[in-house]
Amino acid sequence: MQISARHLDKITIFDITGDIDLATSPELRKPLLRELRELRTPRVVLNLKAVRYIDSSGVASLVEGLKASRDVGSRFILFGLNTTVREVLQLSKLVRIFEICESEEQAVAT
């Protein structure tokens, strides 16, 4: 998995590529929680377009990000969910708790 960050005004967008599983989820969790807990960025957006696979470890990292965002009053938005990622989030029954957008434009504009 690879993760890189872009900054637009008070928004940070993380572009994630590859598989999010037990081996790689710490690489997602660490920058995500830093962005929210330490930097308190008002809006954190995750671009999941290039994520091929996500498992329960990955979902747990997203839930941690969401909880951290609620703690500091930030917004935490996902976009670009492909079939695989959407299926897993639906299976977790947690899909309704996330703010999900169809595109980056929507995620930064809403």
Binding site: L22, D55, E64, V88, L91
Partner: protein, 153 residues
């Protein structure tokens, strides 16, 4: 086909880095067995989560312990269904699984963790756990798709 037909046997270490390799192999195998794309993804997820549970819970994150995974084509009766199925048996030598924890957790709780077993249950048709000779064995069953009848029949 009658009896049990061995499809694949993998001898692995409990290193999370091997998960992607297993997913690749399971994806190819299920595709060759004729599962639909969503079913292939479900079996891949089920096996990945089962391996993840072994690594995290049975071996407490130690990356060098043995895991054996066996894939067989079988004929079986389970959950009121009877037919050919893919049987997957994962075996480890880790600590005994706490059966109380096999119940999973309420999904209404919005918290990280505890989803793995739920994913396995949802992905597979049947799941059976047993402890044998100091080893944990998790048996997963996914029924094969029923082939279309020949044209004109």
């Amino acid at each position: 086909m009658s009896g049990r037909s061995l499809l694949l046997r993998m001898e692995l270490r409990s290193n999370p880095e091997t998960l992607c390799v297993v997913r690749g192999a399971v994806g190819q195998l299920t595709e060759r067995l004729g599962f639909s794309e969503p079913e292939c993804r479900a079996v891949v997820l089920g096996v990945d989560e089962a391996m993840t549970n072994i690594i995290r819970h049975a071996y407490a994150g130690h990356p060098d312990r043995p895991i054996a995974v066996l894939f067989r084509r079988i004929r079986t009766s389970s959950c009121g269904k009877n037919g050919e199925a893919l049987e997957i048996v994962l075996e480890d030598r880790g600590k005994k699984v706490d059966r109380a924890k096999l119940c999973g957790r309420a999904l209404e709780d919005v918290k990280p963790g505890g989803l793995g077993l739920h994913f396995i249950r949802e992905s597979m048709d049947a799941l059976e756990f047993r402890r044998k000779n100091g080893r944990n064995q998790l048996r997963l069953i996914k029924f094969l798709p029923i082939p279309d009848p020949p044209a004109g029949s």
